[in-house]
Assembly symmetry: C2
Homo-oligomer: 211 residues x 2
C-alpha cells in the first residue's frame, strides 16, 4: 500500500478521498446512489472501514425526514463529548439548530446514582425536558439507546431521527434491535457491533452538509 505524498491542496483532499471511496466501492460492485450515499461514504471516509457500505440501515426516507427536521431548526442530542466535539455546530446553527451532550452534567450524574442507572441513560431523560425538535445521535452507550427507546414507547419523546450507532460487545446489537421495533420514528442504524462517537458525528455532518 506504498503511496507517494500527493500535492493536494487541503480543500481538495476530501474531494479526492470521496472519489477514491466511490471508485473502490465500484470495484467491489457497489454503486451507491440516492440521498443515503453521502452518509454511507462519509462513514467510510471517517473510518477507512468499507464495512459501512453494508452495515448501515436506513428506515424509509430517513435522510429526507432528517434533512427536513434540520431545515426546521432541529437540535442534536448525543451521548458523548467526542461526538459533540465532532459535529459541525457552526453549520448547524445556520439553520437554528444546536448540539447538546448532557453526559458531564452534575444533575445527570446525581440522577444516575440516585436511580442506579448510567449517566448515559439519565442524560436521555434530561433530553426529554428540551422543548425542541430533536435528532438523537447515540455513538457509545447501549444504555442511552435502550432508555431512549423506552422513553419513545412511553410517549415522553418523539425524535425526528434516531442515529443508532453505539459500538462494542455488550448489549450493543440488542440495543440497536430495539430501535427496529419503534414505530414511526426514522432511524439510521449501524448493524452489528460497529459504530462509535466518530461515526455518530460524521453521520450528523453528512446530513448537515446536504442542507
Amino acid at each position: 500500500m506504498k503511496e507517494e505524498i500527493e500535492k493536494v491542496s487541503p480543500k481538495e483532499i476530501e474531494k479526492r478521498s470521496f472519489e477514491i471511496i466511490t471508485q473502490e466501492l465500484e470495484e467491489q460492485g457497489i454503486v451507491l446512489t440516492g440521498i443515503e450515499a453521502p452518509v454511507i461514504k462519509r462513514c467510510i471516509h471517517t473510518s477507512a472501514d468499507f464495512d459501512y457500505a453494508k452495515n448501515l440501515l436506513f428506515s424509509e426516507r430517513a435522510v429526507e425526514k432528517a434533512l427536513q427536521a434540520l431545515r426546521e431548526g432541529a437540535c442534536i442530542v448525543t451521548d458523548t463529548q467526542m461526538a459533540y466535539s465532532g459535529i459541525n455546530k457552526k453549520r448547524l446553527s445556520e439553520y437554528g439548530g444546536e448540539v447538546y451532550c448532557f453526559m458531564s452534567d452534575e444533575d445527570v450524574a446525581e440522577k444516575a446514582i440516585r436511580e442506579k442507572t448510567t449517566r448515559a441513560a439519565a442524560s436521555m431523560e434530561k433530553a426529554c425536558l428540551l422543548d425542541k425538535e430533536l435528532i438523537f445521535a447515540i455513538g457509545n452507550a447501549p444504555t442511552a439507546l435502550i432508555r431512549l427507546c423506552e422513553l419513545i414507547r412511553e410517549g415522553r419523546i418523539s425524535p425526528r431521527l434516531v442515529i443508532a450507532v453505539p459500538v462494542g460487545f455488550v448489549n450493543v446489537i440488542s440495543s440497536k434491535e430495539m430501535v427496529l421495533t419503534l414505530e414511526s420514528v426514522p432511524y439510521i442504524i449501524s448493524q452489528g457491533r460497529k459504530g462509535g462517537s466518530n461515526i455518530a458525528a460524521c453521520i450528523c455532518n453528512a446530513l448537515i452538509y446536504q442542507l
Copy 2:
C-alpha cells in the same frame, strides 16, 4: 448476531467487553501478551474492528517509554478537538500532564493562511513552543504528521512518543511511513488507512490507564 440484553452493571460492561475481545482473538489464533496488549485491545474495544489486532506497529519498548514519560508529567498534543475530548484529562492530570489541541486557535488559523499550509500543520509548529515533555497523538491530519516529522528532523522538537494514527485515503499511508524513518523517537502506528481521532484518544487512554 442476535443477542439478548444482558444484565451487566455499567462498571462490568468494559470488563466483559475485554474478556470477549480476548476470547475472540484467541479463537482467531491471536494471543496478545505484554504491555502492548491493553493498547491493542482498547483499539478493538473502541472500534469493534479486529483489524487493529494486526495493523498496530510499536517501536521497541514504545509503551514502556510512553509510560515513563507520562509518569514524569508529559503532556499530550493532538490534532483534533474530538481526540482532545476523548482523552481522560482527569486521570492524566494526576501525573501532572495536560492535553492540548491548537486546531481552533486564531493564531494557528492566521499562520496557516499566511504560510499557505493547513491549520493542522501550523498547530504542530505551535506545539514546538511548549516548554514541556510531549506525546503527540495524531488521529486525523496527515499534514500534521508530515509537519511533525519535519520538525523532529530539524531538531526543533523531540517527542517522547508519536501516536501516528491518521485515517483516510490521501497521504495517510505515506505520512505514517515518514514516522518509520525517524530515529530515536518512539512511535505507535496504525499501518494502512485506518485510525482516527477515536483511536488516537483510546491509545492515549490505554497508556494512561496502565499508569
